[in-house]
């Protein structure tokens, strides 16, 4: 069992491209950390550096108290699950899972016990004699998990393990991996570009962009208090709505003005921005249809561009004041395309960002 620490880690490839400029991160022991970000953000590179599959250009990487920069992958006491499973195609499921233990010269009966134990947890017992090609995608992914499990590693690394599965299976495997984490009580580092996976599985989420950590916090914090425009736009589905608004001083405090809308707020952080344009963010679920949310001029009235019925909820797509808005309303709201709707911005749930630095002003 061990935590992972990055100290000023830099990764520059031979061709001179720096993918990780300066990474400082501390993953606690037994924590489930999700690295999330768009493709090319350096999340996989970070994971591969932990695994030892990618060298570190400068800085220090610690697993537990040991500096790992020059330690070979096999000596790091880690296990990794690959996006494309990476099962040995010529070996049976049993042999795939037993391979690492065989190399360690673990006694045969112990290997047998461990493999069967893992197979039982993952529901793979009846497939032990099969080769990977005779398995479905979900089963292969479970074998890959099992192969990592039997080694009882101190760090479990998962590189987009669910991205090749269909939606239903993904949901199923998501909960299975979360369960596994609780069962194994090991440090998990999980890479994904899917923010739903990140939000549902991680104890903490590290949002990355261009090799730089944008925010490293709990899912709730990321959702409620995104530190910048990027995180605000990345976390949450559908994405947060953004509109350029001008800050105006009023008797009660301040107002954020865009189009016909005037959103009142008393937040003193806005004082330096009076007269300037900021980016106002509001999550689709915080655009409300109920009248109880109307406070002053915090409404926007627009024609519905597209209406998506999802059953339990309805998504409305609107164009207003030069920005595109998505509203996530209860399924009971029926507003066909072409109809006019009036929605209130939940003033307690607005986000405001500096237009230049893109940093959050309120959090």
């Amino acid at each position: 069992m061990a935590g992972i620490t990055f100290k000023n880690v830099v990764k520059t490839y031979d061709n001179g491209v720096t993918v990780i400029p300066d990474l400082n991160m501390e993953i606690k022991d037994k924590e489930f950390v999700v690295l999330v970000g768009p493709s090319g953000c350096g999340k996989s590179t970070t994971l591969r550096m932990i695994a030892g599959l990618e060298g570190i250009s400068s800085g220090d990487l610690y697993i537990g108290d040991t500096r790992m920069n020059a330690v070979a992958p096999k000596d790091r006491d880690i296990a990794m699950v690959f996006q494309n499973y990476a099962l040995y195609p010529h070996m049976t499921v049993y042999k795939n899972m037993a391979f690492a233990l065989t190399l360690k010269k673990v006694p045969k009966d112990e290997i047998d016990r461990k493999v069967h134990e893992a197979a039982e947890i993952l529901g793979l017992e009846e497939y032990l004699d099969r080769k990977p090609k005779a398995l479905s995608g979900g089963q292969r992914q479970r074998v890959a998990l099992g192969r990592a499990m039997v080694r009882n590693p101190s760090v479990f690394l998962l590189d987009e393990p669910l991205s090749n599965l269909d939606a239903k299976l993904r949901t199923e495997m998501r909960s299975q991996i979360s369960k596994l984490h609780k069962q194994l009580e090991t440090t998990f580092v999980y890479v994904t570009h899917d923010q739903t996976e990140a939000m549902t599985m991680g104890d903490r989420i590290c949002v990355m962009k261009d090799g730089i950590i944008q925010q490293f916090d709990t899912p709730q914090k990321l959702y409620n208090e995104p530190c910048n425009l990027f995180v605000a736009g990345f976390i949450g589905s559908p994405q947060m709505n953004f509109a350029d608004a001008v800050v105006e001083k009023t008797d009660q405090g301040y107002e954020l003005v865009f189009g016909e809308t005037r959103v009142p707020t008393q937040r003193e952080e806005l004082a330096p921005y009076v007269g300037r344009t900021v980016v106002l963010g509001i999550r689709p679920e915080h655009l409300r249809a109920g009248e109880e949310y109307i406070r002053g001029g915090n409404t926007l009235t627009a024609e519905v561009d597209l209406s998506e019925m999802m059953g339990s909820e309805t998504y409305l797509y609107l164009n207003y004041a030069g920005s595109r808005f998505i509203a996530k309303l209860p399924g009971t709201v029926i507003a066909p395309a072409g109809s006019k709707v009036t929605l209130a911005l939940d003033v307690d749930r607005i986000h405001v960002f500096d237009k230049e630095t893109e940093k959050s002003i309120l959090n």
């Binding site: 992958p73 096999k74 990794m80 499973y85 990476a86 195609p89 690492a100 360690k104 292969r140």
Partner: protein, 280 residues
């Protein structure tokens, strides 16, 4: 209408295939038929029906002191077998080295190997014979198979095959599992390469088996001669004793091992051995 076109296509395909098969197999048929006829019969011209001299021809071939057929086959088997093993193993190893590792001289190394590929054997033959003589290996079987360790054509085939079927994730997974680099190659990479190895083993075996040029330069002892030299020796034998029946018989004997090797290895040539290991 559409059905008729496809029907016509099928017939055309069959006709073409039958012609091609005929072109390929007809010579084997002549060979087998002529091996059963005596010299006089063969000289009269071709016949579709077999003769009755099979055993006589076989007896003549086996009992010719000048042409040690059995030792010829043994030598050819040793040389071709060793060449096939060395060429496929070491070419796979080289290809793996260039495919799986990143190092500074990777590209120059690749180009260098490709340059050797276009170099004809004849160009370096004289130097090769001098080298072999200098190393005291002239008139031995060693120089006939040892150079197979460096087989650029086999290397290129293996390299292309790896590119299409060997995901590097497998190698990394093995590394994390604690496998040493050599073990990864032997236990993970080689089994995946089996179809390619089978194909190249057959090719190398056949080419080495048929090779006349190099053995003719190196071997002078009758007991160390390989089959092509023996066949050539038979053809250039005394005109008065020349027996075509014997020539056909010895050629028939010479191709049998190749057919057997092909039958053994062909079952490994199955497509998609990695199917399922990695999802594309």
């Amino acid at each position: 209408m559409e059905k008729r076109t496809s029907y016509g296509r099928t017939i055309l395909a069959y006709v073409v295939l039958i012609i091609l098969a005929f072109l390929c197999l007809f010579f084997f048929y002549i060979l087998i038929i002529n091996a059963t006829r005596n010299h006089a019969q063969i000289q009269q011209g071709f016949s579709f029906l077999p003769g009755k001299s099979f055993w006589v021809n076989l007896h003549n071939v086996m009992n010719d002191a000048n042409i040690p057929v059995m030792s010829g086959i043994k030598n050819s088997l040793i040389v071709s077998g060793a060449a096939a093993i060395l060429a496929t193993y070491f070419s796979s190893l080289t290809a793996y080295g260039l495919y799986a590792y990143d190092f500074k001289l990777k590209r120059p190394a690749f180009i260098f190997i490709m340059l050797i590929l276009v170099m004809p054997t004849q160009v370096s033959a004289l130097g090769f014979v001098r080298l072999v003589t200098g190393m005291g290996m002239i008139n031995t079987l060693w120089p006939l198979f040892l150079p197979s360790i460096a087989a650029p054509a086999v290397f290129y085939f293996m390299y292309s095959y790896m590119q299409s079927t060997l995901p590097l994730d497998l190698v990394e997974a093995a590394r994390i599992d604690g496998s040493s680099e050599f073990r990864t190659f032997n236990r993970i990479v080689l089994p995946i390469m089996k179809p390619a190895i089978a194909v190249q083993a057959i090719f190398t075996f056949v080419t080495t088996w048929n090779n006349f040029f190099v053995p003719a330069l190196i071997i002078s002892d009758n007991s160390k001669k390989t089959m092509p030299i023996l066949i050539a020796a038979l053809r250039s034998a005394d005109f008065m004793k020349f027996d075509m029946g014997k020539v056909y018989m010895i050629i028939l004997i010479a191709i049998l091992p190749i057919i057997i090797v092909y039958l053994i290895l062909s079952r490994y040539i199955i497509a998609g051995v990695t199917l399922g290991g990695v999802k594309e």
